[in-house]
């Protein structure tokens, strides 16, 4: 009973892998002044004395609300050697506080300190290059495991999430991107205060319990998304190749050797630095009256430690001056992706990139679909997308294509380049530009009907622009995009020396490729 489209290979991956495809996720349209005006009446904001920003948007259609907690820190902020740390903390944020998830926090605290101490000793021995003593290592590991067993005695597993779920939480989840970390769920409106208690407690009062078990869970997440998935493997290598200095090139789920060495101490240091009032926006959308709700939210969220926004990264990706490419030869189907460095979302041309993406990729009228899929019939799908893998810092404008059987990555590359050349050598049509502007506005309007989507967008725009109104005011920038802008920007960034490409070339299975002990199941045909 539901529509099913053909598999959208990369789309699925990108959607899952980049929750932080922010600004593009809700295409920015220009709204008329009355749209903004009507929202100004529904929205109340308050900055607390600890710096935390609260936004309440009243939408009383049904007795429910959705929330989004937006932390302006993600895996791009992981310290060197600790890739995956922001994500590890996100998992910890489901483990409870000093009041929930424990039978006796005072005793648990002592036991957790012991876990850290034994882990430190074990890790020091483990990392020794010279003079590592296997027997000592084993003893230290045993002590580490015993300390965990002791600490576990005080744990009420998953109590935080159980309380939320028993009170009707729906869509309970969180995501860590390179730029940010977001927590969200929806609930019946009469649980607003209970939610405020839970959410503020985990921001202010997180306890690093069961950290090392959770590290194993996160490594399984990596195996699922990256190691055991051909596109996951390709994209990780693609980004690592495209970037030489900035953390956008680093595995965001974390390199296995680094995730394996993360400690609860490090996760809590990350928390102390980034989970401060000035770095957090909390938005609630739904059947909530700001007059009565704001004081409740203020009471609970004032508990979050005060603090200014932490400094941003100093590293700026140096200008690329040589084309880079990488080829994975394996027995999976062919694939092609390429990317060009572009500025961050702060750039005055940000909307021009959106326009290029729309004209090249949006629907069956898009240039890449018409050329590669419909006319040449060489690809199952072909699109350009941006910003990737994040938006906050200079990032990539990427293109990918999925070859049809019998066609190669090289054909994808040539066909994409032909379309890019057209953008550079001639202006787009008036109809194409107008289509972009019309669709951007309609898509923004459509997004307003969903409590969770709206909460996410308000949090994000408040964080990224310092004012949620920018969600609507972006209209101006969209409207100002000209045909000449598109041609100018295309000529500036879509050049060979600014390009990184990656592809999967399909290898034939080795002759007689049956697996040992599994003769019937080999790849030989």
């Amino acid at each position: 009973m539901q529509n099913r489209a053909y598999p959208r290979f990369l789309k699925n991956f990108v959607a899952a892998a980049a929750a932080a495809l922010i600004i593009a996720a809700l295409p920015i349209a220009t709204l008329r002044a009355q749209d903004l005006k009507s929202f100004e009446q529904k929205i109340t904001t308050k900055v607390l004395s600890n710096g935390l920003t609260l936004i309440i948007c009243s939408r009383p259609d049904a007795p429910v609300f959705s929330y989004n907690t937006f932390i302006d820190a993600g895996d791009v902020d992981d310290p060197t050697g600790d890739s995956g740390l922001a994500h590890m903390f996100e998992h910890l944020a489901f483990k409870g506080t000093t009041e929930i998830g424990t039978t006796d926090y005072a005793a648990e605290k002592v036991a957790l300190a012991k876990v850290e101490e034994t882990n430190k000793a074990y890790e020091a021995e483990y990392l020794k290059q010279v003079g590592k003593d296997p027997k000592k290592l084993e003893e230290l590991h045993k002590a580490f495991l015993e300390a965990q067993t002791e600490a576990h005695k005080y744990v009420v597993p998953n109590q935080f999430t159980e309380v939320a779920e028993q009170n009707g939480a729906s869509g309970l989840n969180a995501s860590t991107g390179l730029d940010d970390t977001q927590y969200y769920w929806s609930m019946p409106e009469n649980r607003l205060e209970l939610w405020a208690w839970l959410e503020s407690a985990r921001l202010a009062d997180a306890v690093p319990r069961e950290f090392y078990k959770e590290r194993d869970v996160v490594l399984e997440e990596r195996r699922m998304r990256t190691d055991s998935n051909p596109i996951g493997r390709l994209v990780e290598q693609f980004l690592a190749t495209a970037y030489v200095a900035h953390n956008y090139g680093r595995s965001s789920v974390g390199w296995p050797s680094e995730v394996n060495q993360l400690s609860a101490t490090e996760a809590m240091e990350f928390h102390s630095k980034y989970y401060v009032g000035g770095n957090i926006v909390v938005t609630v959308v739904g059947d909530v009256d700001a007059k009565t709700a704001m004081p409740i939210l203020e009471k609970y969220f004032s508990k979050v430690p005060a603090g200014p926004k932490p400094e941003d990264l100093t590293t700026v990706e140096p200008r690329q001056f040589a084309e880079k490419s990488l080829i994975i030869r394996e027995q999976t189907q062919p694939f092609y992706i390429e990317g060009y460095h572009r500025p961050s979302y702060h750039d005055p041309d940000d909307a021009v990139y959106d326009a290029i993406q729309d004209i090249m990729s949006n629907g069956r009228v898009s240039r890449l679909y018409r050329s590669l899929v419909e006319q040449q019939q060489i690809a199952a799908e072909a699109e350009g997308f941006s910003p990737f893998p994040g938006a906050k810092y200079p990032n990539l404008f990427a293109f990918y294509a999925v070859p049809l059987p019998g066609h190669t990555p090289a054909e994808m590359r040539d066909a994409i380049h032909k379309e890019i050349d057209k953008l550079k050598s001639a202006e787009v049509t008036d109809a194409e530009l107008q289509m972009y502007k019309t669709r951007a506005r309609a898509d923004l309007l459509r997004g307003l009907a969903d409590n969770q989507g709206l909460a996410n967008a308000l949090s994000e725009y408040q964080t990224r622009y310092g004012d949620w109104r920018e969600l609507f005011l972006q209209l101006d920038r969209v409207d100002k995009v000209t045909k000449a802008d598109i041609r100018r920007v295309a000529n500036r960034i879509f050049v060979g020396s600014n390009r990184t490409s990656a592809e999967i070339d399909t290898e034939a299975p080795p002759a007689g490729a049956g697996k040992p002990g599994d003769g019937k199941n080999g790849g030989a045909e």
């Binding site: 009973m1 053909y6 007795p63 998953n158 009707g168 309970l172 860590t176 208690w197 997440e221």
Partner: protein
Amino acid sequence: MRSMMKGASTILLATATLAAIASPSVLTAQQSKPWEKIPIPAMHEFKPHQPTRIQLKNGIVVFLQEDHELPFVSGSVVIPGGERDVEPAKAGLVGMYGEAWRTSGTEKMSGDAMDDFLEAKAAHVETGGDIDSTEVSWDSLKGDANQVFELAMDLLFHPKFSEEKLQLAQQQAAAGIVRRNDDEGAIATREASKLVYGANSPYTRQPELATIGAVTVADMQAWHDRTLKGKLIVAIAGDFDPAAMEAKVRATFERLPTVAASSPRHDEFKGPTPGVYFINKDDVNQSNVEIVGLGTDRRNPDVPALAVMNEILGGGFGSRLFQKVRTELGLAYAVGGGLGFDYDHPGTLRVEVLTKSPSTVDATKAALTEIKGLTAEPFSDVELKRAKDNILNSFLFRYDTRDKVLAERVKLEFYGYPADYLETYRTALEKVSLADVTQAAKKYIQPAKLAVLVVGNEPEIKPGLDSLDMGAVHPVDITIKQPQRPAGTAGQARQ
């Protein structure tokens, strides 16, 4: 980027023999539970906004759901008949029909012209197909609603299937076929269903290069003409005037002949042949384990008890599977499952665990223990309360928007369920007792009838699957058939 739970809504079953026994005692040890002191006021009164239902004389049913919040109008026409009704030699027909129907267009306007026309208005008309139905749907800004409706109706009544667009759909389908063994999770899901329903069942048989190649334009036209005689369900939502809309819909659909009743299906559902099945994939470091059996259908009066059992086994963070396999053992990120119930045929019992290759056997055993525990480990009052609270307190998210209410009504109409099904279901859930769950588990969980499927990297799986002690390991051949193609050419796919 990554989220805490994978596919939580689809499958997430959990277990915890230990947790279930352990948690009541630790809970009592907890000194205070400050969250329990927070007042929970009465909820604001709420009655879901039901659409208007209009039954035409010819049997066609229309739902109109007004919603003036935003200036859009959307609609759909659902047509009975889907992939399960396709002859096996043409498997894949409905998927390609769903594509080519729209991309071909009509006598008046080609699909390409339709693309230009609609996209300039940020509007959509789309077609698609599934296992038991096909559909045309549309949406647009209010100002364009009349034009877009006319276009959708033109497509519904006067499609002109083109050779060229069928070919395009065939190429897309072929790309899906040759790529279907690249993704481990997709292999596991697909092959697990085949174990339950049988490889040649109408519910699982898969398109092959030969079967999609056998589909012609005449086949699509014949399919269209045949299915359009069925009981159509028209649903329209958004910012419109109800009287004018009703008149328009009547004018369009009342002239059609009396709908033909769809012939009842007589499918057999035997469930899997018990045992261990294995598919080797040498480019992964994680095994996908699927434990499967036969489920039931939604008309079964035991469904409310089974829903509560599912919640205890795999519903969310507090469930037995999640507590044990993920939280306590750290063996998986993705773990879940439950006994499925479909609207008009038995669903599948399916528990899934994704775990690193070396822990395949440990994780499988842990999950099996939790499944068996449903009949061996008594359910506690705490578990029952948690499960029922979870389901009932979030129940209103099934109808908290007008679109959801409309979609639910269309579904109930399609499968012939009463319009108040959700209310009676909710009432039945409220009444589920410990004895009901215990009885349902004993009746429907039959560990000896389960099959275990593992997709993974054989040399890394240590200990091997023989140590599951479930008999010989049966390899499953997933080689993609390559008809009429010399080996080593395009589209070559490995297993």
